[in-house]
Amino acid sequence: MATISLKGLNKVYPNGFHAVHDLSLEVQEGEFMVLVGPSGCGKTTVLRMVAGLEDITSGDLRIGERVVNDIEPKDRDIAMVFQNYALYPHMTVADNIGFALKLRKLPKDEIRKKVEEAAEILGLTEWLDRKPKQLSGGQRQRVAMGRAIVREPSVFLMDEPLSNLDAKLRVKMRAEVRRIQERLGVATMYVTHDQIEAMTMGDRVAVLRDGRLLQCDTPQNLYEFPVNQFVGAFIGSPAMNLYQGELFDGGRSLKIGSQILELPEVVHLKKPTLMSYSGKGVTVGVRPESLKAASTSTTPGTVLSVQATLVEALGSELMVHFSFDAKVVKIEDIQDDEEEILTGSGEGVARIDPSVSVKAGDKLKFEVETEHLHFFDPDTGLSIY
């Protein structure tokens, strides 16, 4: 077991493309660190640099106490799980899992014993003599895991290992991967583009964009205290709604479109800098969970009148897509979730109680949880606290 430490890591390709900028990150012993970001953000490159499959242009990479920049992958004491599993199709499951041990010239009995132990953990015992072709997607994924754990490495590296599975199996395997990792207590770096996967699996999550580390924190902190509007919008599903707004009245009132919300005192206590934006424009972030159907008792200063454009009934909740006259702030690279229906989505989404009866075209009023609003500087995109 060991820690992984990245210090000022840079990757510049021969064609001049700067894929990773000054990345510094520590993964503690036994910690599950997820690297997440839109495609092309450099997360896989970082993982491959740790694995030794990509050269490091500059910076220090340590596994345990050792600087491993120039050490061959096989000598780094790591194991990697690839997106396409990379199982050897001509070998049985047992041979696949035991291949690395065979290369280390371990005695046959010992290999067999270790392979069986790994198969036991992964529930693969009865499949040991099959070829990968004869296995289902989930089983193949487990063989790939088996190949990693049998070597008892000090570090696990996983590159989108669940993205080839169907949605249901993915949810199941998330828990399983986590269970195995916790049982073995090995420092793990896990790459995904799926923020739900990142949030559910990671002890800490590192959000990357354009080769830069934006924020690395626990899932809850990322959700509650994003450093900028990119992280704010990337983390959370459906994504945070972002609007151009204007603060006035000493920062106590907020104008979004033609509507005005009153900000309670607690907002200023939490975000003292907000006052200095009075009379200026801000970007306002409203999480879909921070909106609920207004009732008669709702305080007037917290109501937002909108028109529903599409209603998705998910059983446990309603996704109401709506539009109103505010200017939406768009961020590149933020992908909508695959599951989300894109047609007819208006300028915002709310996640509300399914008991509310609402259909597309209805005019309705939302109560905004104003204390949970996020504010960003419109020029820098940084959070205002």
């Binding site: 694995a51 194991a79 690839f82 990379a86 690395a100």
Partner: protein
């Protein structure tokens, strides 16, 4: 449009299948004639009107080929030359194909283009200088006089086929190997090669066929009776005044059999080997 779903034998009757049948007949006819004629008596081979079925069936032509013309010797020579060339082409070609497909090296594209150019060189243009070269190094009338040029001329195509096949194997296979601690040669041998068997078989079948049927070099470089291969041997059957057609047919049938078996056994591999790289999978 509504499709009538026909049942029984009727579903096999349509224009497409008819076209296939015609084409197959067209291609098979000369082969049928070859086989049929090889079993005719020497007199019946040129009979007028032609005999469509050999009657009586005779093995005289086969007897004549092996006993009188010493076809067995030519067959053995062909086997030695072809098998040796094919083994060399596959072992050198797969390593070269792997290097060109996968290993980081400079000047891959010029190399590949050069290979392509070499492979389209007309044989007739190189045979004279090759003859002089062989004469100088004293190789005329030996197995190596054919094995070495056959290997050289079949390598480019084989390299191309195998390189394309290697390109289709996910890179992660090698990377996993690297992390597991396999050397490049070990990766090639234990991981890449077993997965590339279709490509290797394809290259093998093509090389084998090309060497087995090659005529010009065999005629020029190995013309002594001891080293003659099948194509040259058959062509030189008979005397200036007699062309023993029946014997030629019989020998040709024997010559076709190994290729037939080879293609039949490896047909699945050959098809997948030729189409690999067409679709990234």
């Amino acid at each position: 449009m509504k499709f009538h779903s026909r049942t029984g034998w009727r579903k096999w009757i349509n224009l497409l299948n008819l076209a296939v049948v015609i084409i197959v007949l067209f291609v098979m006819l000369p082969i049928y004639w070859l086989v049929a004629s090889s079993f005719k008596t020497p007199v019946n081979v040129g009979a007028q009107p032609p005999q469509y079925f050999p009657n009586p069936i005779s093995f005289a032509n086969y007897n004549s080929a092996f006993v009188h013309y010493g076809f067995g010797r030519y067959f053995l020579n062909s086997v030695i030359v072809t098998v040796a060339s094919t083994m060399l082409v596959l072992s050198i070609g797969s390593l070269a194909g792997y290097a060109l497909g996968r290993l980081p090296m400079r000047g891959k594209s010029p190399l590949l283009v050069t290979l392509l150019i070499i492979s389209v060189f007309p044989e007739i243009a190189v045979v004279s200088p090759l003859y002089l070269l062989m004469h100088q190094i004293g190789w005329l009338g030996s197995y190596e006089a054919l094995i070495v040029p056959y290997t050289a001329f079949n390598l480019p195509f084989a390299i191309w086929i195998m390189r394309n096949y290697f390109l289709g194997i996910p890179r992660e296979m090698e990377e996993t190997g690297r992390i597991d601690g396999a050397s490049p040669l070990r990766t090639y041998w234990s991981i890449i090669l077993p997965q590339s068997l279709p490509g290797i078989f394809t290259a093998g079948v093509f090389t084998f066929t090309a060497c087995w049927t090659e005529f010009l070099m065999a005629l020029t470089l190995d013309n002594s009776n001891n080293y003659r291969t099948i194509p040259v041997g058959i062509a030189l059957f008979g005397s200036p005044n007699v062309v023993p057609y029946g014997t030629i047919f019989a020998a040709s049938v024997v010559a076709v059999v190994p290729i037939g078996i080879l293609v039949f056994v490896f047909r699945k591999f050959v098809v997948s080997g030729l189409t690999s790289g067409a679709v990234k999978g």
